[in-house]
């Protein structure tokens, strides 16, 4: 159905678990698979009942050894007969439930992966996706579908109606200034629309070639660009399909116009706005947040920071504010003694940068501010010659004719 774009009208799909691996045992196998399938309105027929009274099932789950590999999902819909093929989960390798990292593959995760195939998803080349071809450890206790898989399944089945954007056109209001305390007003930015209204006429989605971002960060090899209540995701200087998206669609509870963000060593995302900060595990806010910045470190600036930088090579985090910067120790949850220090250490970098991240191999630090970026040599402790350069041209791939022109009618497809 996914392939041919047909719509599945019936609200139920019946399935049956035909056998189990002794290693995991019948009850745990059923529990793991039911949990994986439970989120769908699928009806399970007990296998013996199906066989005895000829009850037709659409999906037959069984354990099958195929080339000695773990999982092979094949579903074939045959309304006039039994399911011709099997969606099977092969337990050749070590399998079990709630396994600690690197001690085997959790059957629940394997079931979710194979269910993804059954629902039409192919393998993903995003290593953090559960649809990556290789199984990796994920916390099963409060399992949340990773971002890439969420987008994949929504691409096939659509976005839940609650998240749909309003179909009636948004009002076009003149933009006017809001009395906001965020850091961007200090730099006499163009007037901002009221917080609850889009900045631009038409469907309200900003064009990345307009620039004026709140901050830029690197999460798992991809650039995330934040502006007002939107964010873009770029890879290799190319905006990913479907972006910009609304920030609070993904990070529910996160306010618009964030000041800074970075990815912590434990893979959680930290967001800053004003005197508060949030910690998200993937798309879920950690309990107890937002918290005040003072709780993060007593010497950190009380009214907020301009940007945060995670410097993996030395395992340190840096915070920048105005003409000062702090070095933060993640383990001790405090800033290192002797900080803050003057910005002058970062020779050539302007005060109040709005974004900073390390190059992949760690030799350079890129700083962003306004429409420009600086490339800082971490060895020479100085900005490379020829900088600043245009962030819109080099990072977003906007050509000169687009920069600053969009928003006056001709949208192009940059959105």
């Amino acid at each position: 159905f996914a392939l041919t774009g047909q719509k599945w009208r019936d609200r139920k799909i019946s399935y049956s678990i035909s056998n189990f691996t002794p290693k995991v045992g019948e009850k745990d196998t059923q529990r793991a698979i039911r949990r994986a399938f439970g989120s769908l309105s699928w009806l399970e027929n007990l296998c013996s009942a199906s066989a005895e009274d000829g009850m037709k099932v659409l999906v037959l789950l069984g354990h099958l050894v195929l080339l000695g590999h773990l999982g092979h999902a094949n579903i074939c819909y045959c309304p006039c007969c039994w399911a011709e093929e099997l969606s099977s989960i092969t337990p050749v390798e070590q399998q079990g439930l709630k396994l600690p990292p690197s001690s085997g593959n959790d059957l629940f995760l394997v079931a979710v992966h194979e269910l993804g195939h059954a629902l039409g998803l192919e393998h993903s080349n995003d290593p953090s996706a559960i649809m990556a071809p290789f199984y990796q450890y994920m916390d099963t206790h409060n399992f949340k579908l990773p971002l890439d898989d969420l987008q994949g399944i929504q691409k096939i089945y659509g976005v839940p109606t609650a998240m749909m954007e309003p179909t009636r056109p948004l009002p076009t209001l003149p933009t006017r200034r809001t009395p906001s305390t965020s850091k961007h007003d200090r730099h006499s930015r163009p007037p901002r629309p009221p917080a609850d209204r889009p900045a631009l006429p038409g469907n309200g989605r900003p064009n990345i070639c307009d620039g004026n971002f709140n901050t830029v960060a690197f999460f798992r090899r991809e650039m995330f660009v934040f502006k007002d209540r939107w964010f873009w995701r770029l890879r290799n200087n190319k905006v990913q399909e479907g972006y910009p998206m609304q920030i609070d669609q993904f990070w529910k509870g996160l306010p618009p116009r964030i000041d800074a963000t970075y990815e912590r060593p434990d893979g959680k995302f930290v967001f800053f706005k004003g005197d508060k900060y949030w910690v998200f595990k993937e798309v879920t806010a950690e309990p107890g947040y937002p918290r005040s910045l003072v709780e993060m470190g007593s010497t950190l600036p009380k009214d907020g920071i301009d940007t945060a930088l995670r410097w993996e090579p030395v395992g340190k985090t840096y915070f920048f504010k105005g003409d000062q910067y702090w070095r933060y120790n993640e383990e001790k949850h405090t800033t290192d003694p002797g900080y803050p220090k003057p910005m002058a250490v970062w020779k050539g970098i302007p005060d109040a940068p709005q974004g900073a991240f390390i190059s992949r191999e760690g030799h350079y630090t890129y700083f962003y501010r306004g429409k420009e970026y600086w490339k800082f040599d971490n060895q020479k402790l100085a900005v490379e010659p020829g900088y600043p350069k245009s962030v819109l041209r080099d990072w977003m791939g906007c050509d000169q004719s687009e920069v600053g022109r969009s928003g006056k009618g001709n949208r192009g497809d940059r959105q």
Binding site: L67, H69, Y135
Partner: protein
């Protein structure tokens, strides 16, 4: 390299590449010289899809990843991202 015997299980690289969609069966029935190029391209394609350094060679990292347990469904390394979502 057709198989690596350093460890207790032999890894049949060509079979692995074919099984998981990186080597089309007919691609290998050509001359030896061309065969090596095709195999290198297949290894490079797998490295790119896995997100590991793309060397085109069977280095240790690549062999380790080939040995890891994985799903039996083939990958589609050459499909565009959009197609990747549909099956």
């Amino acid at each position: 390299v057709v198989s690596v015997c350093a460890e207790d299980r032999t890894l049949m690289v060509e079979t692995w590449l074919k099984t998981y969609g990186y080597l089309l069966p007919h691609a290998i029935r050509t001359s030896d010289l061309w065969q090596e190029t095709v195999l290198q391209a297949a290894v490079a394609s797998m490295q790119r899809f896995y997100g590991i350094p793309v060397t085109g060679r069977l280095d240790q990292t690549t062999v380790e990843w080939m040995r890891k347990p994985r799903c039996g469904v083939p990958d589609h390394p050459h499909a565009s991202r959009h197609q990747r979502k549909r099956r």
